[in-house]
Amino acid sequence: MRDGIVDTICDCLAVTCRLAGTQQLQQWIQQWLAAAGPQTRLFWQLPVDFACWLMQQPNCSSRPRLYVELIHYEAMQLEAIHAPNASWHSKQQPSRITPASHLVCHPSARLGIYTYPVFDLDGSTTKLPAKSEQPLFVVVYRKQESCHFLCCSPPIAQLLAQLQQNSSLSAGLAFLRELYESVNEEKLLQQLQQLQQQGIVQLQHLI
């Protein structure tokens, strides 16, 4: 059965498998099985379980950070693809967002912060990317059964994280004002408008 778990996870982490090599990935999975093992009873969530464990481990030379992040990104894609459906229709027309609007995130939306641009890797080349000078914020989401990603600014990522915790938009903006010296609300609202067009957020009253 362990072989079944290892094979399933390798299949789901296809880019990592190609870049790091199947044997290497299998070895990391075996380390996880020995140290912690599956905490989920849902078979499809095993790669997510493995990725979460990996992210919590201290940095070590045998598990390069690039691959840890890539595994996390691929697991996040899997989660987005399988996440529950939104309660709103995907063809809903966007409407204007104001600071008083009540917004909700699509259930598939997942946020990631990476030091490598792992979202640019598709396995078509074995050339590995350089570490980014700044942390990279990315939102992964599902649209019409396909997985997409969008790079975003740190404030937008933090705002989305607030919305995912059921905060109102006004509370989210207040949270950002505490974090940053200046917050360009108009720009943030424009960016949220774009996220609404992608189906990542929706106005509560339209649901």
């Binding site: 059965m1 079944g4 778990i5 912690a36 093992g37 599956p38 905490q39 989920t40 009873r41 849902l42 078979f43 499809w44 969530q45 095993l46 693809i81 399988h82 996440a83 529950p84 459906n85 939104a86 259930p107 598939s108 599902r142 059964e145």
Partner: protein, 300 residues
């Protein structure tokens, strides 16, 4: 809407086969079986396929990780979540394996056999009663394949299954291939196994192929065609059962095109139909049977 009781022959609903099965013009599969664990907490294409399957077929749900006989405390929240799912799918019953599937540390994602002893009967039956109380629907326990006995081993497997089912007052999902595999691996008579079960409790039958690793070691792979002795054991078991349970073909590995599986389904349907007709004839010969006999269903 009332749950639809499956009849005849069915097929395990696998993603690899889903599109072909859902869009074919004719199939011998009259119902499908799904694993709730493949759909819980999901949306997207998985839920779309589930909805499409429900539109075309009657459905039963078969758990993989219920830990029916486990040593860990029952997870009530998890069971209530399962109950909601089963109600949404309007299934007539729910089945899971008579085994452990987790330890204190992790879910093992495997079917770990139980010790066959009275203490294990008591503990497992109590746990199954609790599960039934929460799910509020008929629950069937499935005999699992095994490659070693878990000590203590004081009774036969069939006596253990019978005792648990009787004490918990639950149904049985009889896996014919598992009986055959265990009979070969442990050297017992598979027909005697069938004879010694409370067959009136069998609500569903599973059948599958296995792999022969050595002359005395069979592995329950669900990845091969059904072998002749397993068909024969199915025929024997169905003839002995007072009611005619539906039969489900499991194919989880090395999945061939649907056309190839249809050959197996067709043969299973013929066996099912033959024993059904024999049962009907026997009932007709009895002086007064008030039992309602349903018309034999035809393949979709």
């Amino acid at each position: 809407m009332a749950a639809q009781k499956p009849q005849g022959v069915g097929l395990g609903f696998r993603f690899e086969l889903a599109n072909e099965l859902l869009h074919c013009s004719h199939t011998h599969a009259q119902f499908v079986e799904i694993a709730p664990e493949n759909y819980l907490h999901t949306g997207g294409w998985r839920r779309r396929l589930l909805d499409q399957a429900k539109e075309r077929f009657s459905m039963v749900c078969h758990g993989l990780c219920g830990d029916l006989a486990g040593a860990q405390p029952l997870d009530k929240a998890q069971l209530l979540e399962l109950k909601t799912f089963l109600q949404q799918q309007q299934v007539a019953w729910y089945s899971d394996h008579l085994c452990y599937t987790s330890t204190a540390k992790a879910h093992v994602h495997d079917l770990v056999p139980l010790p066959f002893c009275q203490e294990s009967v008591e503990r497992t039956a109590t746990r199954i009663e609790q599960v039934q109380d929460i799910l509020q629907m008929p629950l069937a326990i499935e005999n699992v394949s095994a490659y070693m006995h878990m000590p203590p081993h004081d009774m036969s497997e069939q006596d253990f299954v019978a005792a648990v089912a009787t004490q918990a007052d639950c149904s049985i999902l009889l896996d014919i291939n598992n009986v055959y595999v265990n009979a070969c691996n442990f050297g017992f008579d598979p027909k005697r196994y069938v004879d010694e079960l409370p067959l009136q409790r069998v609500i569903q039958v599973h059948i599958a192929g296995h792999e022969q690793r050595q002359s005395d070691l069979l592995i329950d792979t669900h990845g091969e065609q059904i072998v002749e002795p397993v068909y024969e054991l199915l025929r024997y078991a169905l003839a002995k059962m007072p009611q005619q349970p539906p039969v489900l073909l499991e194919r989880d590995n090395n999945i061939p095109p649907l056309a190839q599986l249809e050959q197996e389904l067709q043969r299973l349907h013929a066996i099912w139909q033959e024993t059904y007709e024999n049962h009907t004839t026997q009932r007709a010969r009895q002086p007064d049977t008030s039992a309602a006999v349903c018309a034999a269903p035809n393949p979709a």
